[in-house]
Symmetry: C2
Subunit: 159 residues, 2 copies
DNA sequence: TATTGTTATACTCTATAACTATA
DNA sequence: TATAGTTATAGAGTATAACAATA
């Protein structure tokens, strides 16, 4: 017989993709017809980790360095991110969101939040309270650890 | 001031990608070094919708028909799915998971469930109860509707 | 004629290997 | 010598267009 932790993990395994499915549909339909999933994930990561280096970015998104380099090329060409040579280590490139990139990301998040809110509106108040509390717990549990190998100087967990 | 529904949607927007990040890391590290994300999503969809048609599959995964055709080619070549010509409509191709495909999918899910359980084990019993209840609510809310345009004959929501 | 799926072709994405610049 | 990033080349993935078979 499965423990509560185990059955909870199973539920999570079902629910997480469902959430992403809705998220993805929203992205696909509503906006950003010209922003690939890795590009979007990169922008989202940069929002949390401004000034990330290329290698750091590549590892966290799960891409090779050259692929990430080209991906960032595309984002930079479209004015979504800016690259600056680091002063301490001139090999390193600091990558940050531009205002346009931040705005694009915000628009996407707004659209997705609306889609989520639409569904959540069907919950009874008590259920909503439960969900809210649970999300707080999960958020803490699944907080991405900073991967350790970065300089860590600009890794504020809340932006 | 945001309503509870709105703030809850925001939290969901943060938590869902965190969950998928862990999921993805597990997939990337532990297993299926030779299974792309769309392939994995296709297998997962087939588990829930055995006998899906190609077009149905393409739309739900968000791929073009030719791309899905090739993707299914690859899965069939590796024995993960089987294609049979439908009897009612001989244009149509019914696609189902093979035992091997099901086993692969199950292994992936086991690995991811372990990673989730590991984190959930840090919760206090009361918190875990809350999370469990919340996941039940969310699961119902975000249940993928069957998209309406399929034959629907083989859409059992629990496999 | 409309629909289901496949084949043809071109383009993008991604990885491995080789390279440049800095440490 | 080792590290951060880019360029070179090749292979996989994807889309649009054209096609074959069935309804």
């Amino acid at each position: 017989m499965p423990t509560l932790v185990e059955s909870c993990a199973r539920e999570l395994l079902d629910v997480a993709p469902q959430l992403m499915q809705v998220f993805r549909e929203e992205m696909r339909a509503a906006r950003t017809p010209d922003l690939s999933t890795p590009q979007f994930r990169t922008l989202a990561w940069l929002r949390r980790h401004p000034g990330a280096g290329l290698g750091e970015l590549a590892e966290c998104i799960g891409l090779s360095n050259p692929a990430m380099s080209k991906l960032v090329d595309g984002l930079a060409r479209r004015g979504m991110v800016a690259r600056t040579q680091s002063l301490n280590d001139r090999r390193r490139v600091d990558i940050v969101l531009t205002d346009a990139g931040l705005a694009l990301l915000r628009d996407c998040r707004e659209a997705a939040a609306k889609a989520f809110a639409l569904r959540l509106a069907n919950l009874a108040p008590a259920e909503l309270d439960t969900v809210s509390a649970a999300l707080g717990s999960l958020r803490a549990l699944f907080q991405p650890r900073a991967h350790g190998h970065g300089p860590g100087q600009s890794s504020r967990s809340e932006a």
